[in-house]
């Protein structure tokens, strides 16, 4: 898939994400938008995974530790053909499998997540199994930055380095905001890359909303033999919608009718600009 196709997908994913959040009346709007480009590149460029191979023991695994950004994941999984996109109209509805955090009842979901600080240990266990069985699959997990205050993530990091899990790829959605405010004001994380290096990771920085840069960094996997991989993805919470970008209040705010219309308009304009640029 070329870059323009990926860019168009990101725009469509953003529209659909906002649409299902608006329709259901709940969702983690800004965090979904910040990680959406990462999910786009993972599912359309990186992961050896499809609905047909989802039960194969050799498939790549993706575990979303920041489970609250599930709306973005649902949209991408629907686009990949794991289930009909129309089913997303049931999000958060009575008896729907599409709830506010990932569950295995939804095709394409590897693990039930939502409580923070769990995904990395799950990913480490899955990666150890891959090493033991001599399988070539890789295990990707996406963590929020606020989530790093959970000590369990650091327990798992120690184990990842101890067992030299170069088949493990940890991605940090570093949007610098959490529900209360700036991560650095709530309980400072920096210097984050030094911390990860000290824990034994091979660390790469990337603009987590730059599709081309994301492709490039993931193409370099594994970064170093014998070390777990850490992608520090610098993102913008609410990315793609001007009035949502880097605004704390949009953590789980649902757009009203006017805000929704404006957001769609911005995305349509972005799409038009992209197509115009392509044809020139």
């Amino acid at each position: 898939m070329d870059l323009t196709e990926l860019q168009l997908k990101s725009i469509e994913y953003r529209k659909k994400t906002l649409e299902i959040i608006k329709h259901s009346g709940a969702g983690h709007t800004a965090g979904s938008l910040s990680c959406l480009d990462i999910l786009n590149v993972l599912y359309n460029h990186v992961l050896r995974l499809s609905p047909e191979t989802f039960n194969s023991p050799d498939r790549d695994r993706y575990i979303q530790s920041k489970g609250h950004s599930v709306e973005a994941l649902y949209v991408v999984l629907a686009d990949q053909g794991f289930f009909p996109s129309a089913e997303l109209s049931t999000l958060n509805r009575y008896r729907s499998h599409f709830i506010g955090h990932p569950t295995r009842k939804v095709p394409g979901i590897e693990q039930n997540t939502g409580a923070l600080g769990h995904g990395l240990s799950l990913a480490v266990g899955t990666a150890i199994a891959g090493k033991k069985d001599g399988r070539a699959y890789r295990v990707f997990t996406l963590l929020g930055d606020g989530e790093l205050a959970e000590g369990s993530s650091w327990e798992a990091s120690m184990t990842a380095a101890h067992y030299k899990l170069d088949n493990l790829v940890v991605i940090i959605d570093r949007n610098t905001l959490q529900i209360t405010g700036r991560t650095e004001e709530v309980n400072g994380l920096e210097p984050l890359d030094d911390k990860f290096r000290a824990f034994g990771y091979a660390v790469r920085h990337v603009d987590g909303n730059d599709l081309s840069a994301l492709q490039t960094v993931f193409d370099q996997l594994p970064f170093e033999t014998g070390k777990p991989n850490l992608v520090l993805a610098h993102t913008v919470k609410g990315k793609g919608i001007s009035f949502m970008e880097d605004v704390r209040a949009w953590h789980h705010k649902v757009p009203n009718d006017d805000e929704f219309a404006l957001a769609m308009q911005e995305l349509d304009q972005a799409r038009a600009r992209l197509l115009e640029g392509t044809t020139l």
Binding site: Q111, V124, G125, D133, G151
Partner: protein
């Protein structure tokens, strides 16, 4: 009125698991600096590739175990019950039970096994905590036989399970022809006056209490309720109908464990019978060894026999 002494159930667990793992490389043991207390040093020496150490990190232990189990590995996550079921409770709830990753969670040195080490090292809450979490079975073997059979049964168990073990040598309770099945209680003593429904390491004192009561003309049934979930409701209801009172016995808080489980079932079946819950009361636990703590709270042959007489309103002259 003594029973032949066997080995600690933890030793039997480790030995049985080693035998099974030598035939099946998908059997993995996870430890959190707990291989010594789990009697798993020989396992680690014999099958180093099948033992995964994570250091003192119970949350990580359970999360990694869940990840491994999701790939089809038969994982036994072994750590002291007190830490596993408190510190790692969220991982048990979400990563294991909710995600249905079939980890065999093995809580060792459970209950008050650690005696005078104090409440930090006691697990008197684990039944209550786990009974309130959907999709995790709870098995508590009383003796070496039940332990061996439980471990064998768990190899192919398709869903999450908690196996609770103590560290003290256990009396042998069962004749060789006994059959063990998850979810089916075992009658250790037949009787018609009163029933002890006991679990884990409290079954032995209940059995000796029954033998003591027999010399006093009282016939006591003793049931080893080795599976707390799925619960053998029939065994309880039958005992309530066939005898004149129920005494539950557990190495657990009197809140939320076997006793309250039985009480709820009896009431919802409209069975009002003389009933007593024997366990660790809701107080700062007395200091002592496991047996001293048991004796203090009446989890002993004499204590249980006295409770039975009290419940039946029978006075015995000594």
């Amino acid at each position: 009125m003594t029973l032949e002494l066997g080995k600690p159930n933890q030793d039997v667990f480790a030995k049985t698991l080693l035998e099974l793992a030598q035939q099946d490389k998908d059997i993995l043991v996870m430890t959190s600096d707990s291989r010594g207390s789990g009697k798993l040093v020989p396992f680690g020496e014999a099958l180093p590739d099948q033992l995964i150490e994570v250091g003192i990190a119970e949350q990580n232990l359970i999360g990694i175990s869940a990840g491994l189990a999701s790939t089809g590995k038969k994982v036994f996550a072994v750590s002291p019950a007190c830490f596993l079921t408190a510190r790692a409770l969220e991982q048990i709830k979400n990563d294991v039970a909710y995600s249905d990753n079939p980890v065999r969670i093995v809580g060792i040195s459970a209950g008050v096994s650690y005696g005078a080490l104090g409440s930090t090292h006691h697990s008197l809450h684990d039944f209550a905590a786990l009974r309130a979490i959907n999709n995790i079975d709870i098995i508590v073997p009383a003796d070496n036989f039940e332990t061996r059979e439980a471990v064998k049964a768990l190899i192919c168990h398709p869903h999450p399970v908690y196996l609770r073990l103590g560290k003290k040598a256990m009396p042998l309770l069962h004749p060789p022809e006994t059959r063990f099945e998850i979810g089916k209680a075992i009658t250790v003593r037949e009787g018609y006056d009163i029933t002890f429904i006991a679990i884990g390491e409290t079954v032995a004192p209940a059995a000796i209490a029954a033998d003591l009561l027999q010399t006093q003309g009282i016939s006591a049934r003793v049931i080893s309720m080795h599976t707390l979930r799925p619960f053998d409701t029939d065994a309880l209801l039958d005992a309530a109908r066939a005898t004149h009172g129920i005494i539950t016995v557990e190495e657990h808080s009197v809140h939320g464990g076997l006793g309250e489980c039985c009480a709820a079932i009896l009431m919802q079946n409209q069975l009002a019978v003389p009933f007593k819950i024997v366990g660790i009361p809701d107080e700062y636990t007395i200091t002592g060894s496991q047996v001293e703590i048991f004796n203090h709270y009446g989890i002993s042959a004499e204590g249980l026999a006295a409770t039975a007489r009290q419940l039946l309103q029978i006075e015995v002259r000594s």
